[in-house]
């Protein structure tokens, strides 16, 4: 026990001595949180749109004014022929065109579509939402200003995030990513470095056991990881007002288990890599796949089944779900036991494999 303690102290000393790495461990995550929280934003704002009126409608000035008053849209112009409207789209000046096909005051409206939306979909991600917003806007406009009311009225409530704030959903996920990055990279590179500069041989001939060595490497990282996670949660609350609706103990429990998984993974990488550069590249490849499949940026449900399976096998996925559920929805622990079991299982497996592949004598 004393040996373990001394090893932990040694590790912490080494980490705090390395002036090049210190800012990277402590300042970089904060910067990333600040940048990511602001950048990772699919919120639709200031979509540039144009109106194309083919029916000489008299409500155009009114609808234009309402469009401009709306935060989501910026009206760039009203056109009366299709060619000039499309050229606005081609030049990238607008992202969407609302085309009124007929004169709306005519006695009998044709049953063909009266309003057409033309949308630039190069950014497939946001165009679906632009579409939703514009059609919502038009439906609302006509519901208020004409006799054409919808027969079925869909009332909606946005639960858990009523202001539809994007940061609220991104920050818990970003924190998970930051903690994973630090945990995996530092652990993987730390041991690879001992290998590279040869100090691992000294540790190997010393009387410390395998488990003490691994424990001595993992504990300091666990402490740093937990510290950063909670610092990040507080920062998110202070800067962006991210709620913390659930029980902090649930988050702590999961955070420890999750860090155990990710650190074991870093350990496993370091046993396979010969140099820091290799460790970094291997860690990088896995983390990119992990992050992409974690459901942070895209929804897991929309993935094809095989991809969905992969994402279920990724620890980050489960911790992001847990963080979002606990922080935003106040989900109690008993609704999350499945995630806990999966993380414990993955962690146990990775730790065993990593411990077995680390050999004191080579």
């Amino acid at each position: 026990m004393r040996i373990l303690f001394i090893l932990i102290i040694k590790e912490l000393k080494q980490i705090f001595r390395n002036k090049g790495m210190l800012p990277i461990i402590f300042v970089m995550p904060i910067l990333q949180l600040l940048i990511l929280a602001n950048a990772a934003n699919y919120e639709i704002k200031n979509v540039n749109i144009a109106i194309l009126d083919l029916g000489k409608n008299d409500f155009i000035p009114e609808i234009s004014a309402q469009l401009n008053a709306n935060n989501y849209f910026t009206l760039k112009g009203v056109k009366y022929d299709k060619a000039s409207a499309i050229s606005l789209l081609d030049r990238g000046e607008v992202d969407a065109i609302i085309a009124f096909q007929h004169n709306f005051s005519a006695q009998r409206m044709p049953t063909t579509p009266q309003v057409q939306l033309i949308i630039n979909t190069i950014d497939g991600a946001s165009s679906g939402i632009v579409l939703s917003y514009i059609s919502g806007f038009i439906e609302q406009y006509f519901a208020q200003n004409s006799a054409m009311k919808p027969l079925i009225n869909l009332e909606y409530t946005n639960k858990f995030n009523s202001k539809l704030d994007y940061k609220t959903v991104m920050v818990p996920g970003i924190l998970v990513i930051l903690v994973s990055l630090i945990g995996v990279f530092l652990t993987a590179m730390n041991i690879a470095r001992e290998k590279e500069i040869g100090t691992i041989d000294q540790l190997n001939v010393s009387p410390i056991t395998k488990l003490q060595f691994i424990g001595g490497k993992l504990f300091p990282m666990l402490i740093i990881g937990l510290g950063e996670l909670f610092f990040g949660i507080i920062l998110g609350r202070v800067l962006y007002g991210i709620p913390f609706a659930g029980n902090p103990l649930t988050v702590i429990t999961f955070a420890i288990v999750f860090l155990f998984v990710m650190l074991s993974f870093g350990l496993l990488i370091s046993t396979k890599a010969d140099s820091q550069q290799q460790a970094m590249l291997i860690a990088y490849v896995f983390l990119v796949v992990f992050i992409m499949f974690s459901g942070l940026f895209t929804s897991i449900e929309s993935m094809p089944i095989w991809a969905n399976r992969i994402s279920q096998a990724i620890p980050i996925t489960h911790f992001i779900t847990v963080m979002r559920s606990v922080m935003l929805k106040a989900t109690p622990l008993h609704l999350l036991y499945r995630e806990l079991l999966i993380l414990l299982g993955t962690g146990g497996l990775l730790f065993t494999v990593a411990t077995l592949s680390y050999k004191k004598s080579e």
Binding site: M28, L89, Y156, L164, V169, S299
Partner: protein, 367 residues
């Protein structure tokens, strides 16, 4: 010149000796593009929902079946108790709950509006907005089918320009090209140059008959070649596997790619000129290059949505301009006359980085 060629040969031997890294460098782009292309979509598909049906009528049943029959939504459960709504949303089993009003079936003849309450899990705002949009469409179509004679607003036919199937891969491939080029050129160059410093080999190289610029060029050329091969791989995969269009000129695309490549290489040299350990070089490259390339270039997130300081910052991220150029050439099929601004910025940035790294590059290692 002969020495220079030997030097480049030595560099290649170094690279080929580290098979693990080499495999990763070639496999990474391919893996990423396949994963991105097949797995990542922002469309709504198979979203689970629950229903709490107060009216228990034929009309409501028809509507629920209609919603369930779409690709977008899958009925997970009928709820019998309004108290279950909160828990089922909390447990992440469904994304929304429909509460159908008791009066819903009295829609006929249309004396009153039928009411449906939609309780959305808005913790992800975009999914929530998308769900609402799709649902609204389904319900509008439904009411048109049920009551064909009534005068309703036909808000239909949306035309999707440039990318009619909303394929995310169209967005990902240009971004990925920028990303891979940055990774291999800037990241690997900075590490390989710092490595020589850290191990003390730089001194040996500097007292050799090679000129400093030859050392740098020699170090950089192998990675430039690797990157070119990777670009070809990405383009081939993108075109033949994912049907990525190439509307514009291939020659222009390649020339612009070489310009971006030079830019990344000069960034790599720049990083190595002020770091002395590989660990720091890696972390600086990761935080200073890879993350901005991924996050602030318009690859993952639309730049328009960012706060102003970040928007300005994105203008000095070279990948931003390269991605605009790539999208322009590949998807819109425009020529240089539309893209000269971005090309010029990219060229200026490259010259700027090269000048700084020449100034910073010390022939003597100890200051």
């Amino acid at each position: 010149m002969k020495q220079f060629i030997y030097f480049i040969k030595k560099e290649f031997i170094h690279i080929f000796r580290d098979t693990k890294s080499l495999i990763i460098l070639f496999a990474l782009p391919i893996i990423q593009i396949i994963l991105f292309g097949f797995a990542l979509t922002n469309e709504i598909k198979n979203v689970n929902f629950a229903v709490y049906d107060n009216s228990k009528s034929d009309t409501s049943l028809r509507l629920i079946n209609k919603i369930d029959a779409t690709d977008y939504f899958t009925l997970h459960k009928y709820l019998n108790n309004p108290d279950d709504i909160e828990a089922i949303l909390q447990s992440n089993k469904v994304k929304f709950v429909l509460v159908i009003d008791e009066d819903f079936s009295r829609l006929y003849p249309h004396e009153k509006q039928g009411d449906i309450q939609l309780l959305l899990d808005a913790s992800d705002p975009n999914i929530a907005t998308n769900i609402r949009g799709y649902l609204q469409n389904i319900i509008t179509t439904f009411s048109e089918e049920e009551f064909p004679l009534s005068e309703q607003l036909h808000l239909a036919t949306t035309k999707m320009y440039y990318n009619p199937e909303l394929k995310s891969v169209y967005l990902f491939i240009p971004g990925l090209m920028a990303f891979i080029l940055t990774l291999i050129s800037a990241f690997m160059t900075s590490i390989t140059l710092t490595k020589e410093k850290e191990l003390g080999n730089m001194e040996i190289l500097l007292i050799s008959p090679l000129k400093p610029y030859q050392i740098i060029i020699g170090k950089v050329i192998p990675y430039a070649l690797l990157s070119m091969i990777n670009i070809a791989n990405i383009l081939l995969l993108g075109t033949f596997v994912f049907g990525m269009p190439l509307q514009g000129s291939l020659l222009l695309l390649l020339l612009e790619s070489i310009l971006f490549l030079l830019n990344s290489l000069s960034l790599g040299i720049l990083i190595s000129s002020f770091t002395s350990s590989r660990q720091v070089a890696m972390m600086v490259a990761l935080a200073g290059l890879l993350l901005p390339t991924m996050l602030l270039s318009g690859f993952m997130f639309p730049i328009n949505n960012m706060p102003l300081p970040l928007q300005y910052f994105s203008k000095i991220v070279p990948a931003t301009h390269y991605i605009i150029i790539l999208k322009g050439i590949m998807i819109k099929g425009v020529g240089l006359q539309y893209l000269y601004k971005e090309t010029l910025i990219l060229a200026l940035l490259t010259i700027f980085f090269i000048i700084i790294s020449i100034k910073k590059f010390n022939v003597r290692l100890d200051k």
